[in-house]
């Protein structure tokens, strides 16, 4: 009994870390540009494939592959912002138009990955081999690294957006573009930076996930859906709320899988979200603005 409980808790933590990394990237773009980036999951997948290409066929060390996966995804994110989001700034229907354009980017990247890398399943080696036992539950050392890395990355983003002027400029642009411009913030640069940073987080997550799940062109779809649930569930905007919601949902999901099995879990997860949003329309941690 205790064993199952600990195992569930640990698996909830792994899921929570994954969702926290994905959702924080989504939330950076949302708070800066007011756009939901539907290509976020595909950027994650690109990060995984890039890392795999550099590690397996090319033969570079895994950490280098992971880093390049994150950087490659960041570059692609900046291109997407430039070509598919920037032309619609100031448009009254920007939110809806960018739903379409980022969905288009997602499809292009998924089909592109299919053409380049084929449909055969791929997997990355693990950062650290071996297993770690906590009480009587065991997880791979790689998963332990993810559990430790996620809060560090979140803390770094938090420090960046609260302590540095470049990071603060992202928040400022999200709240009042004209005022931001009038104190000397380069608004288009802030947009590109937000997209690049967010895509880097997606790429990093993908490269890490590529060691414990298979790398396929569609691997980003489920993390994207979950990240969206997390961001909305947490109450759009604040990083702390997003992180809290990520771990909460990871835990709920792990418990549901144990209790109801994989088949019914997504259904119940959405049900919980809908019920929460009925009573707390601004999210579970959101204020009542």
């Amino acid at each position: 009994m205790i064993d199952t409980l600990i195992a569930t808790l640990v698996s909830g933590l792994v899921l929570g870390s994954l969702y926290a990394l994905m959702a924080s990237g989504l939330s950076v773009v949302w708070t800066t540009l007011g756009v939901f980036n539907f290509a976020h999951g595909a950027l994650m997948m690109i990060g995984a494939f890039l890392a795999w290409t550099l590690v397996e066929p090319v033969g570079l060390p895994l950490p280098v592959g992971i880093l390049c996966g994150a950087l490659g995804a960041a570059a692609l994110g900046i291109v997407i912002e430039r070509l598919l989001v920037r032309p619609y700034y100031g448009n009254r229907n920007m939110l809806l138009i960018t739903v379409m354009t980022t969905l288009a980017a997602m499809i292009i990247m998924e089909k592109g990955a299919q053409m380049i890398w084929g449909a055969r399943l791929k997997q990355l080696p693990r950062l650290i081999d071996g297993e770690i036992s906590i009480a009587s539950a065991t997880i791979s050392a790689h998963e332990a690294v993810m559990i430790l890395l996620a809060p560090l990355v979140l803390a770094a983003i938090w420090a960046f957006t609260v302590r540095t002027n470049i990071g603060r400029s992202l928040r400022a642009v999200g709240q009042n573009q004209d005022s931001a411009a009038l104190i000397g913030i380069n608004v288009p640069f802030a947009f590109a930076l937000a997209f690049g940073l967010s895509a880097a987080l997606a790429g990093l997550t993908g490269a890490l996930l590529g060691s414990i799940r298979f790398i396929t062109p569609a691997m980003g779809a489920d993390p994207l859906t979950k990240a969206m649930i997390v961001v909305i569930f947490g109450g759009l905007g604040s990083l702390g709320a997003t992180a809290g919601a990520a771990y909460l949902i990871g835990l709920i999901e792990a418990i549901l899988v144990l209790w109801l099995g994989l088949y019914w879990t997504p259904f119940v997860l959405f049900l919980i979200m809908i019920v929460v949003l009925v009573f707390r329309p601004n999210g579970i941690f959101g204020g009542n603005q």
Partner: protein
């Protein structure tokens, strides 16, 4: 004499709506100017166009010898032309000190950030008392102080203030007017938009009256020092 700011034949508006129609104003080195005129006739639009928020449809803007007609707002700030907008709400979720520190993000302002923050707090001690308060929770007067404080953090070579005392109680209005007077005395040239002509006459050297998006009158303090006379002109013009 070199002109610090020169606006020639400027037209601008919002989409299909033309607001400014061929505006000519200038500011010589060492002087301050005021803009006044009835509500909704384009004063704010003029400042927004100068600071790059609105693209002009015709005309030219030169600042300190450079053509800034098509420049990006952040580059205009970096050149030292700073605009403190009307009814500025700034960034609701950001604390006072964060906002002020952020306002030194332009290259020209980076180095002196700490020193400038100190002098802003000297000018507005109330901001220092509220340094960790979020902008959203500030009173109207405090917001106005924060907005002017941000403009000062940018190290202005020319400071444009859009109705800095709008909607304030008489006492607060006096306090802010005194602060703006201090800024002028410290040697920063000003472009001030205000409805209160007396206030403008005390602060600036020349006034432009703006109506229907055009400059309809230029008043030099040396020629028309009598504020009552200006008021007569003002009301004479408005009530056709």
């Amino acid at each position: 004499m070199e002109r610090l700011l020169e606006v020639t034949d400027l037209s601008a508006g919002y989409g299909a709506v033309t607001v400014l129609r061929g505006v000519d104003i200038h500011l010589d080195a060492g002087e301050s100017i005021g803009l006044f005129g009835p509500n909704g006739h384009g004063k704010t639009t003029l400042l927004k166009t100068i600071s790059g928020l609105i693209r002009p449809t015709a005309g030219a803007i030169r600042f300190s010898g450079n053509d800034i007609t098509k420049a990006r707002p952040s580059n205009i700030v970096n050149a030292g032309l700073i605009h403190s907008p009307q009814g500025n709400t700034l960034f609701g979720d950001m604390q006072v000190h964060e906002t002020l520190e952020l306002a030194s993000i332009a290259k020209r302002a980076k180095g002196g950030s700490r020193k400038n923050l100190k002098s802003v707090f000297e000018l507005f001690p109330r901001l220092e008392e509220r340094r960790t308060q979020k902008a959203r929770t500030l009173s109207g007067g405090e917001r106005q102080m924060l907005s002017i404080g941000c403009a000062l953090m940018c190290v202005p070579k020319l400071l444009m203030l859009d109705e800095p005392t709008l909607g304030l109680s008489p006492r607060l209005k006096k306090e802010l007017a005194a602060a703006v007077g201090d800024i002028a005395k410290s040697g920063v040239p000003l472009v001030v938009v205000e409805q209160d002509v007396e206030f403008l006459m005390a602060l600036t050297d020349r006034l432009y009256m703006i109506e229907h998006g055009e400059v309809v009158r230029e008043i030099d303090k040396a020629n028309a020092p009598d504020h009552e006379e200006v008021m007569k002109l003002y009301f004479g013009e408005v009530s056709h």
